[in-house]
């Protein structure tokens, strides 16, 4: 209807600017008698009548776009209480429970109310770890919905061309998946782009070789020892040190062999280890990562002792037990009197971690010699032990008061260890851990120490949640939130089993 267009154009410019439009003849009657009005009022009267006429006669357009309905769910909807928990977590309270809760919902054959799926898919877009969980708990509707929004395209599986065109994280994820299924193919892909990628990405790619690492990777890893980037070289050394058959490790064994001699004890003297410090690194040794300043500025270990640690960390532990015919405990005992006893323990601890050697780990934990743990880029040795032994040691450890003050390194370490048991922690361990934790937060828990506690509380065996929620110090800052988390987790998981 062009008359309206005329009015709207005239209105834009102002009625003082020229000739004004006239009403279509069939509508003149509705505007009534306007002769007595001012020009502006008459204009607005007519425009108002036209506008109302247009509004009352508004016509929809048509669309024949095809609609593909989603198939019906075969799982059961969530119960009323569970929907409440879902809403709470979406709005940010106790969101740490989300991953476990989603997995449990899917396992129990429940599906989420569809109106919350957009918020959840958006969250999964940000948080990769939630993706499979949201998709499985979201039922068929989640896939159906995600297919309609490019933002949620991750639901269609990681796109195959993500390796070429994806973001940094996507490419690393593709590589990780490929390393699991076809490690050689993954290596070939990295080799093919190696020269053109920036250092940060090269290091990230190389780090993925830890998955299904094998001797076949050695030649390529060996070549990366000449890389321009220090970080890439550090990653390469770390990987090569885990390959006992590699030329790199052979070089390290050759360097290590002359440094340590086992002196058998007599009637009056104990067995001991005689340690010679390594020489200054030659260019080949430097290429192998032997850098006296590897631990940065520090006054604990001398330059040569640092080299000793680095060499020992790359030598198969078997070499020592076989060469000297002694078990780890005997070797550590023999090392005790050496001037370099702690350097030896440090190098061996690192090696034990790299080689996942439980026997050495146990001996080092028991042993009379302490490693310089501050220089170890590894997790705690305790994690290398079989679960039952680990639980027994940790229980004894905590019972002996090892956790100490909230926020201390030991306290965080113990909590991390506790969290490592996931849902399988023995009841005695949980009991000791909780008792110590309650005692250590008697004066409140500063918010910046909450993360390790929450990480553990989120992994407490579900069966022990109801007892875990009791006995906490009342009215202490930060503690109520912990109790709340335990209760919420308990309620949320329990509700999933109810209709």
């Amino acid at each position: 209807m062009s008359a309206w267009k005329d009015y709207s154009t005239a209105a834009l410019l102002g009625t003082g600017k020229g000739a004004l439009p006239t009403m279509p003849s069939q509508l003149q009657a509705v505007a009534g008698e306007t002769a007595a009005l001012s020009e502006e009022a008459r204009f607005l009267t007519q425009a108002g009548a036209l506008a109302l006429w247009r509004r009352a006669g508004w016509q929809p357009s048509a669309s024949e776009a095809e609609i593909f309905p989603c198939e019906a769910e075969t799982t059961a909807p969530l119960g009323r209480a569970s929907v409440g928990h879902l809403r709470a977590m979406i709005s940010g309270s106790n969101a740490g429970v989300f991953p476990e809760w989603l997995a449990e919902a899917a396992r129990l054959g429940r599906h989420l109310p569809p109106e919350y799926l957009p918020a959840l898919l958006d969250r999964a877009r940000q948080d990769r770890s939630l993706r499979p969980l949201v998709l499985s708990a979201g039922g068929r509707r989640a896939l159906w919905l995600a297919a309609q929004n490019p933002d949620w395209s991750f639901a269609q599986s990681e796109a195959p061309d993500a390796w070429e065109t994806g973001s940094r994280d996507q490419r690393v994820a593709v590589l990780r998946t490929l390393r699991t299924s076809e490690p050689a193919e993954a290596r070939a892909r990295v080799e093919s782009v190696w020269k053109t990628e920036p250092a940060e990405l090269r290091a990230a790619f190389l780090a993925e070789f830890a998955t299904r690492l094998s001797e076949e990777d050695a030649p390529f890893l060996e070549s990366t020892l000449d890389d321009r980037s220090k970080e890439v070289r550090r990653v390469a050394v770390d990987l090569l040190a885990r390959l006992p058959g590699s030329p790199f490790v052979e070089r390290m064994i050759a360097r290590a062999a002359p440094l340590i001699i086992f002196q058998r004890g007599g009637i009056l003297s104990r067995s001991s280890l005689e340690v010679t410090l390594p020489p200054d690194p030659d260019p080949v040794a430097t290429r192998d990562g032997l850098d006296p300043k590897a631990f940065g500025p520090q006054k604990v270990l001398g330059d040569k002792a640092v080299l000793l640690v680095l060499i020992l960390s790359a030598v198969p532990l078997q070499h020592w037990t076989e060469t000297f015919g002694k078990d780890p405990a005997a070797l550590l005992k023999a090392a005790e009197k050496s001037e370099f006893a702690r350097a030896l323990a440090t190098g061996w601890s690192w090696a034990a971690w790299r080689q996942r050697d439980a026997a050495w780990a146990a001996a080092l934990l028991d042993g009379p010699v302490l490693a310089h743990s501050e220089f170890l880029p590894t997790g705690p040795l305790l994690t290398l032990l079989p679960e039952a032994e680990r639980a027994a040691r940790l229980t004894a450890h905590i019972r002996a008061g090892a956790m100490g003050k909230a926020g201390s390194d030991l306290w965080i370490g113990c909590l991390t260890e506790l969290a490592g048991f996931a849902g399988r922690a023995p009841a005695a361990l949980v009991k000791e851990g909780l008792a110590e934790l309650r005692a250590s937060v008697a004066g409140g828990l500063p918010w910046h120490f909450r993360a390790p506690v929450e990480a553990w509380l989120l992994r407490l065996p579900a069966a022990q949640l109801s007892t875990a929620a009791t006995g906490w110090p009342a009215g202490q800052e930060g503690v109520d939130a912990l109790v709340d988390l335990i209760n919420f987790r308990h309620d949320a998981l329990t509700a999933l089993t109810q209709p």
């Binding site: 709207s8 209105a11 834009l12 410019l13 102002g14 009625t15 003082g16 600017k17 001012s38 020009e39 502006e40 009022a41 607005l44 009267t45 007519q46 425009a47 108002g48 009548a49 036209l50 506008a51 109302l52 509004r55 009352a56 006669g57 508004w58 016509q59 929809p60 357009s61 048509a62 669309s63 776009a65 609609i67 593909f68 309905p69 989603c70 009323r80 209480a81 929907v83 409440g84 809403r87 709470a88 979406i90 709005s91 940010g92 309270s93 109310p113 569809p114 109106e115 919350y116 799926l117 957009p118 918020a119 509707r141 159906w144 309609q148 929620a469 009215g475 109790v483 709340d484 209760n487």
Partner: protein
């Protein structure tokens, strides 16, 4: 007793912070005591103080009372209590209310009785002298207001004429102050309805493509309101009421009490809360099952103050409703209820947009100043069109969804590609959904989903 669902309880929250805090309290561990009776639910919640807070809700309403110092209403304790009841009714044992609950309930009943008695006293014929004086005062006040409104609207006519002469492109350049000061003068002139419309002009200018069309339509609508006021006596009764209410005259409860009410089973189909200057406005749309008439219940609240929480979207109530007089009666007061709300089963809906548009046209013919009309249409599908969204009816007709509607994806998700009944507000060019009924589930979409 009537147990509200979690969604219904959350709809009562005055703000998102209360939702979060309330959820934190929906946990039996937080409560020292808990109980419920046929009518009320109560609990003692340990707060930071020495004595626990005493929280109670009267499900006739629902109404809340709590001994905590919060100025929010309902407070987090009230929400937590009802959320707990919704999620774990088994943990709130039935029993005899303690004295502090009895007292409050008794006080509430007493105040209802007192109000009724007062209304009765006012309705009773006073002695002739007082009556004459009251009447004279009222007439004097009313005449004074008419004078003010007349002067204010005359000024508006001049302002509108100047604006039209200089053009909308020029008006768009004016600072918000230009419109606010005219609005303020209209407030002084006791014409708040017109004042509100004038204050919304900068919003129209900022509304994107087609703003000039909308601004002109609004100017034309105001012009017709000015005509309407001048010819008030010549207008039919309903239209006269519409003009007066668009200008800003309101009905008091006493005035409404004299009007006839409509009893019906009213479906509470949609609810939306909007922020106006220093004020929250809640619109609740009802449709009568027998009459098929739409009705709009409004509730106003200052920030942090309670909105009316008695109408819960997704329920049906048996109630007497009084419509404010209008050429197109929509605004209504829920006067008296019979029995308790029940879950909504099947919304009273139109079969097509064409039917909804026809109803809109009828309503506009009675009140051309209506800013929005309610639509309830079944068998609808949301459709994506680039960045915009459309909704299609069973006949294949499509209308745009409102630009500012944030829940289009949840709408699509909940429909799952199956036809859904949509309840929403039509503003003449787009539909803002307030709720849908999909797969037998009622889903409120008028506000944030969490």
């Amino acid at each position: 007793m009537q147990i509200l669902t979690t969604e219904q309880v959350l709809a009562l929250a005055p703000d998102p912070a209360s939702v979060k805090a309330g959820q934190g309290l929906a946990n039996p561990g937080k409560w020292v005591s808990l109980g419920r009776s046929e009518r009320s639910v109560w609990g003692e919640c340990q707060g930071s103080g020495k004595d626990p807070y005493r929280t109670q809700a009267d499900m006739n309403g629902p109404a809340f009372h709590c001994s905590c110092p919060s100025r929010k209403f309902p407070c987090k304790h009230g929400l937590g209590l009802l959320l707990l009841l919704a999620a774990k009714s088994g943990r709130v044992a039935e029993g005899a209310p303690p004295a502090w609950v009895e007292e409050w309930i008794a006080k509430r009943d007493a105040s209802v009785e007192k109000k009724a008695a007062k209304a009765e006293a006012e309705a009773a014929p006073p002695d002739p002298e007082t009556a004459a004086k009251r009447e004279a005062d009222r007439t004097k006040r009313a005449a004074k207001r008419e004078d003010r409104v007349r002067a204010g609207l005359a000024e508006l006519q001049t302002w509108l004429g100047d604006l039209t002469r200089q053009g909308l492109a020029h008006a768009k350049q004016q600072p918000a102050q230009f419109f606010d000061s005219m609005a303020a003068r209209l407030i002084d002139a006791q014409a708040p309805g017109v004042a509100r419309r004038v204050r919304e002009w900068p919003g129209i200018f900022a509304s994107g493509e087609g703003w000039a069309d909308r601004a002109l339509a609004e100017a034309g609508s105001l012009q017709w309101l000015l005509h309407g006021y001048q010819r008030l006596d010549a207008l039919p009764e309903g239209m006269r009421a519409s003009v007066r209410s668009a200008i800003g005259w309101t009905m008091t409860e006493q005035e409404l009490a004299t009007l006839e009410s409509t009893r019906d089973r009213w479906q509470v189909l949609g609810q939306i809360v909007e922020d106006e200057e220093k004020l929250r406005v809640q619109r609740t749309w009802l449709v009568g099952e027998k009459s098929r008439k739409p009705a709009l219940s409004l509730s106003f609240a200052a920030v942090n103050q309670p909105l009316d929480v008695s109408l819960i979207a997704g329920t049906t109530i048996d109630a007497e409703v009084v419509f404010h007089p209008s050429g197109a009666p929509l605004r209504a007061l829920v006067r008296e209820r019979h029995g308790e709300p029940v879950s909504l089963a099947e919304p009273v809906a139109h079969a097509s947009f064409a039917e909804a548009l026809a109803q809109t046209a009828t309503l506009l013919s009675g009140d051309p100043w209506l800013e929005r009309t309610p639509w309830v249409v079944r068998d609808c599908h949301p459709l994506r069109a680039g960045k915009a969204w459309l909704v299609r009816d069973a006949a294949g007709a499509v209308v745009p969804l409102a630009r500012q509607f944030a829940n289009a994806w949840p709408f699509l998700a909940a429909s799952g590609g199956a036809p859904a009944t949509v309840c929403g507000e039509w503003d003449g060019r787009s539909l803002f959904p307030l709720s849908i009924m999909a797969g037998g589930r009622f889903i409120a979409l008028g506000g944030p989903l969490t």
